[in-house]
Amino acid sequence: MCKGVAAMSETLSAWQLITSGDATLFSIVRLSLAVSLTASAIAVIVGLPLGALLALTRFPGRWVIIVILNGFMGLPPVVVGLTVYLLLSRSGPLGELGLLFTPSAMVIAQSLLVLPIIAALTRQTIEDLWLEYREELTAIGVGPIGRIATLLWDGRFSLVTALLAGFGRAAAEVGTVMIVGGNIDGFTRTMTTTIALETSKGNLPLAMGLGVILIALILMVNAAAWGVRFWSERRAG
């Protein structure tokens, strides 16, 4: 009985910390969003055209690339983290850049994690669309770049879903950012690494409270994307 009350009061004080707009919490949330959104943006800039290109071109060994790309959607975050760590370490090939244990390293690593998701899902979407649009676009005489642009725009609703899948992966993972960021207080500490830290310190109610906030954040991003899609669909069908 007493233990239950104690646990509840701890949870309550954790929530108070959360809802009082604590400055540290705010900076942790801001860093998490900045890193994951930037990584997703990079993955989109590279992955969208890559996926579209893969969908529309034919060359020997194409199916090998597609299988690898699809498989990389499930890259283990810790492995990516370790690989980027070894690359960016001072003793590694890119050590000169001095990027290890900084938010930049976290963005780079997460971009690598999200890129296969964007590219693979884009490829599938564009390939399906191409089946439908092929004759028409060929008859109109649209060139290769025009095809990519047209299909990417017309497939935008499915592509937004791919984008959200990619962002969700980035925002939810802890292995990559922990290794390449170092979980440095006030500098590379994100929501997920904080949750891991608080858990290891035994502050389970606080960790859980942070977990709920993280889920709420991800849901808000999804809701915003849904809103944009809904509004835009009403305009363009």
Partner: protein
């Protein structure tokens, strides 16, 4: 055109972030999870920053990993608690000089149900023998950390050959002190912990201190500057200032002042005669 603009903006952002990381006024200190989990850094680092303006970025890993990070040149200073491993690090030429900073002690934590029948005492060797004989559940860090090294040494001192004696009762989890305590709490098992982490640990369950005060549970912390001759990128000047501060009377007092629930966690013991 728009895409080109976005690319260059991104490149600038990345470079700025990278440049910010390489400022003079910050150093990377590789330390241990137990030191971080105890909350010591939250207490002393703001004092150092106020005095010198230097930002100390602590990357908390196990001792083994921290020393490895330093070997790779990814840290400027290393601050751990495993003297044997630290001496080896020095011998390999990766460190400049080693200084004692502070000590705390280990405590043997166990469930109130006490399956090994240890009771409360101050003889760690006897306790470990009892645990091994009765095959009572025991959680080990298993991660080459300072605590793990100390634990292995203690089995040795107790005359138990842990390599042959271990069985399903001995659980090596390969994680930090907090995780080890969580696991022990969930399984009602024994675990060797540093006092600092134990004092700030909140998820105790049925656990309490079983053995403390044995001189063999003494846990010494040392600090070293990573050798700039091996890694020219080391910020030697700022790193040395941090070390100097830690062992100075001011830094030592800051360490001693850190308390949880009125209890002091770390006992400063830097040698005050340095040439």
């Amino acid at each position: 055109m728009l895409i080109r603009r976005m690319f260059s903006a991104l490149a600038v952002l990345l470079m700025l972030a990278g440049a910010a990381a390489a400022q003079d006024q910050s150093i990377v200190v590789a330390s241990t999870t137990s030191t971080q989990d105890s909350g010591l850094f939250d207490h002393i680092l703001p004092l150092f920053k106020e005095k010198t303006g230097i930002d100390v970025k602590v990357v908390a890993q196990g001792t083994g990993q921290a020393l490895d990070t330093a070997r790779r040149g990814d840290a400027d200073v290393v601050f751990v608690h495993a003297k044997d491993q630290e001496e080896k690090f020095l011998q390999e030429g990766f460190g400049v000089e080693r200084f004692d900073v502070m000590y705390n002690d280990f405590v043997l934590i166990g469930p109130k149900s006490d399956p090994a029948g240890i009771g409360k005492g101050d003889d760690i060797a006897a306790a470990l023998v009892a645990i091994a004989t009765k095959k009572a559940p025991f959680v080990s860090r298993g991660d080459k950390s300072g605590t793990h090294s100390a634990e292995l040494k203690l089995w040795d001192v107790a005359g138990v050959d842990i390599e042959t004696a271990k069985g399903p009762w001995y659980k090596e989890i390969g994680q930090g002190m907090g995780a080890a305590l969580n696991t022990a709490s969930a399984m009602d098992a024994y675990v060797l912990s540093d006092r600092g982490t134990w004092l700030s640990f909140k998820n105790r369950g049925n656990l309490d201190i079983a053995v403390e005060g044995d001189k063999r549970l003494f846990n010494q912390y040392g600090v070293m500057l990573v050798n700039p001759e091996k890694h020219p990128s080391v910020n030697a000047e700022a790193g040395q200032r941090f070390i100097d501060w830690l062992i100075s009377p001011e830094g030592q007092k800051a360490i001693g002042d850190y308390k949880i629930d009125g209890q002091q966690l770390f006992f400063p013991n830097a040698s005050q005669d340095r040439s």
